[in-house]
Amino acid sequence: MTAFGYRLPAMSSLLVWGLLWEIIGQLHLTFFVPPLSQVIITLVEIIGTPAFLKALRETAIAFLSGVAASVLIGIPVGILMGKNRLIDEILLPWVNIFLSAPLTALVPVLMVLFGFGMTSIIITTTLFAIWIIILNSRAGVLQINRSLVEMARSFGASPLDAFFKIYVWAALPEILGGVRIGVIRAVKGVIIGQLLISIVGFGALFELYSSNFLMGHFWAVLLVLFGMAFAISEFLGYLERRVAYYAASR
C-alpha cells in the first residue's frame, strides 16, 4: 500500500492500531486497558517464568495433538466421503451439524466423560478443527478431474496408489485451505477448552490473572496467543500459495 507517495511497510496498519492502544492506555481511561508498552514489558517479564512455560507447553501439546488428530482423521474421512457415495450419505449430515453446532456447550459433557485434564482439551480442540477439514477434503475430491482417476486405473494403479498419488495431490489445494481454517478453529478450541476447565495451561493463567485484576499480564498472554495463531495461519497460507499454480489447471 502507498500513502502520500510513500510505500508503507507490510505491518503499518498494525503499527497504527498499536499506537492507538498506547494512547488510550496512557490516558488511563480504564484499568482494563493498560498501555501497550506496559503490556509488552510484562510480556518480556513473564515469558521466561515457569508458570508461563508450563502453560505454553501444555497448550502446545493439546493444540498439536488436536490438530494432528483432526488432520490424520479428517483428511482420509473427507477423501473417502468424496470417493464413496454411501459413506458420504451416512456422514455428511453429521459433519454439517457438528460444523455449525455451538461446540462450547459440549465441553462440560466432555469434562464429565473424559475428566478435567488434557484428554478433554485435546478432544475439544479436535472437535473444533476436524469438521471443516473433512468438508474441504471432500470438496477437493469431488472436483477432481474424472480422467485423472481413469488414467490411474488404466495404468494399473492400486486403490492405495490412487489414494496417495492422485486423490491427495489433486485435492491438496482444498485440503490445505481446510487445514488452515481448521487450525484457526483449533486455537479457539484449545483456549475455550482450557478456559472452561481452567486448571491447565493458559486457561489457568487467564483465570489467575483476571481474578487478580492483573490486566497487563492478561493482555500479554493474549498477545502471545494471537501472535502464534497468526503465524501458524500465515505459514499454512504460504503452503496454499505454493500449490496454487496447479489449483486452476487440474
Binding site: 478431474n145 480422467s147 485423472l148 481413469e150 488414467m151 490411474a152 486405473r153 488404466s154 495404468f155 494399473g156 494403479a157 492400486s158 496408489d161 498419488k165 492422485i166 495431490w169 491438496l172 500449490v243 499454480y245 496447479y246 489447471s249 487440474r250
Partner: protein, 266 residues
Amino acid sequence: MSQTDAATAPSSGPAPDSAVSVRNVSKNYGPVEALKNLSLEFPRGELTSLLGPSGCGKTTLLKIIAGLLQPSAGEIVIDGNTVTAPGPDRAFVFQDFALLPWASVIRNVAFGLELRGVARSEREAIAEKYIANVGLSGFENSYPHQLSGGMRQRVGLARALSVDAQVLLLDEPFSAVDEQNRRKFQEDLLELVRNENKTFIFVTHSIEEAVYVSDQIAILLPRPSRVSEIIRPSGFRNKGIENIRRDPEYLDIVDEIWASLRSYAE
C-alpha cells in the same frame, strides 16, 4: 515371430490376425442402450478408427476395451484372453490429456512405469527416450501448465508409449489441439504406426482425420449403436504422407463417409 505364430495358431476361421476382438458387446445405462450387440475385429499392427456422430458410443466402446467400463453383455478378447479390467497390454491416451499438474513432464511420462513399480533410474531412462521420441527433449522438468495443448498431448502419448503396451487406445487425442499441431500430430502418428508395430484404436469425430491416419475405419451409427460399415483405405498409404490429402481415393472415401453420416448431423 509372426511366421511361427501363424504356424502354431489354431485355424479358427479365415480372419486375419487380430489383436483385439470385440464380441457381441452391449452396454446399457439403465433403460438407455449405449451399445447393442456390437462385434468388431482390430487387426494387429494396424490403426483402426472408430468414427461416428456424437452419441454413437465410440468412446464407450473404447473405455470398455480399456477395461474402464464393464460391458452389460459380450466380451473383449485380447490375444486370446478375455479381459474385464485395465491391464499392462493396453495404454490409454486421453482427450483432455489427464496429466498430473503437480508433476514434471518426466514424472508424468514415467507415471505408468512408476505404478508398475519400475525403479526410478530405470523408468526415467525409458521416459527420457520417449520424451525425445515425441519431440519434447529439453522439457523434461517443465510442468504441464507451462506447455501448450499440443505439447501436453505429446506428454500423454509418451506416457502411453513408455509402458510398451501392445494396444494403444486413443480417445479423440487431437480434438483439444489446434489445427496446425493436429496435422503434425497426424503425420507423426502414421510414423508411429509404421515403426512401433503396435495396434492402435483411435476414436475421432473428424472424417478427414480418420481417413488420413487409418488402416481400417469402423463407422458407428447411433440409435441403436452398431457398426454400419468397415472401410479399409489402402491405395494411398504408400504414396508418401504429403500426397495423401490430394489422392483421389482419399477424397472419394471422405465423400462417401460424409454421405452416410450427413443425415445424423444436427
